[in-house]
Symmetry: C2
Subunit: 251 residues, 2 copies
């Protein structure tokens, strides 16, 4: 059982899109997956078609009570892909968790009670606050989506510092599973520049699979479906299938 956090404090780099579509691609390759939506925006829950009034109990309820409740695991339209959903209430956890004794371990405490899945994926919010820290403490490894843009490069050093901090203080087994380049655009010289910089910085940790900018990918969530279901043959879907194969191959 692997618990993989999808994290990067830079906003809009494709964390949720990767969490939804990599999970779906893993299921397509016969894995059983639980997606944990740890972002108060609830984009992963929406992107998998779970409406606001079907999210109780949500992750917020589990973190507040400290007890796991099997009703929090919701089925999605995809067999073998389940989700623990999030609502706007979860934003309160950033402040409420701060007062708990074991504040970094609350999510780990919940997930350790869940069996029957090959992979857990945790979609983190765009910040290095307590929700992301809980995601990194609960995880066996972390996948970092990296948008092929200049500002996205800037945040890398603080993210790796945080990962090292978590590894040294709370979760000695935490490793970077891989870095995936997202929204890569062949027509844009910036994409090539970012790609060569990142391969220089992270070496083999950077997946060979690159996710291209593909409008079908950004349309899919408005239909409550992963792009692999919305448009199976588009370049975005194929890239996420390739990524899933690469993640499994590296195990």
């Amino acid at each position: 059982m692997k618990i993989i956090s999808i994290a990067n404090q830079k906003g809009g780099v494709g964390k949720t899109t990767t969490a939804i579509n990599l999970s779906t691609a893993m299921v397509a390759i016969n894995k059983k997956v639980l997606l944990v939506d740890a972002d108060p925006q609830g984009n992963a829950s929406t992107g998998l078609g779970i409406s606001e009034d079907n999210r109780s109990p949500s992750l917020y309820n589990l973190l507040t009570s400290g007890k796991f409740d099997t009703n929090a695991i919701k089925k999605t339209l995809i067999p073998n892909l389940d989700i623990i959903t999030s609502t706007q209430d979860l934003a309160a956890s950033e402040i409420e968790l701060a007062e708990k004794e074991n504040r970094e371990f609350c999510l780990k405490g919940i997930l350790d009670q869940i069996k029957d899945y090959d992979y857990f994926f945790i979609d983190c919010p765009p910040a290095l606050g307590l929700l992301t820290i809980n995601g990194l403490v609960a995880a066996t490894s972390v996948i970092v989506p990296l948008q092929c843009e200049f500002f996205a490069l800037e945040g890398l050093s603080s993210l790796t510092k945080t990962i090292d901090l978590i590894k040294n203080n709370f979760n000695p087994g935490l490793e970077i599973e891989g870095v995936v380049l997202t929204m890569h655009d062949k027509r844009n010289s910036l994409s090539e520049l970012v790609e060569s910089d990142v391969r220089g910085y992270f070496g083999d940790k950077v997946y060979k699979t690159i996710i291209p900018r593909n409008v079908r990918v950004s349309e899919a969530p408005s239909h409550g479906k992963p792009v692999l279901v919305y448009d199976t043959n588009c370049v975005g879907s194929k890239a996420y299938i390739d990524l899933a194969k690469e993640v499994i191959y590296n195990q």
Copy 2:
């Protein structure tokens, strides 16, 4: 003197890009502007060419001491556009401010000591934590950049709820100055969909000026310059000049 926060908890929607380029466009129309970088990522500071080792004292130092220090105001390569910079240390403020008595008012306390500017713009991080709350409490109004994408629509209701909360509890004068559509792509039907949804939701608050997706805009920060300096005649620059005119006209 107007203090305008640039806020939206959704990540990657163009907050920093709008803060940098709207500030620059305002200066081009003879206003004196102070940009406050309230995001620990420090993208606004980098985008205006202030290297990491020229950022002391930074916003973190001011918030920690509670005292204003004129050395925190850095000149940029653009006359009449100054900046209070940020560093990764600022991330600690999210937790450190929580313990202060007047935790929502710390930034306001600093900015109230500064005169001589026509406009202040505050670049907020992608979260509704204490840094963004401080930005909304210090502000006279807020500009909401909105990416023309489906997930960006989803966060609007929690942002307006937070603005109402701040208005009712801490800053009765806070208003939405306007909503600006960003990264609009004529070739992408999603952009038209989002535009009509947002004009339906916010009506006249949505600026007529739309910022198009323009690769020159995303290249400019790697040169430490606003796009108005990097490529004055590109569509992105023209759009930000139009936006500045509209913001001033609406006063």
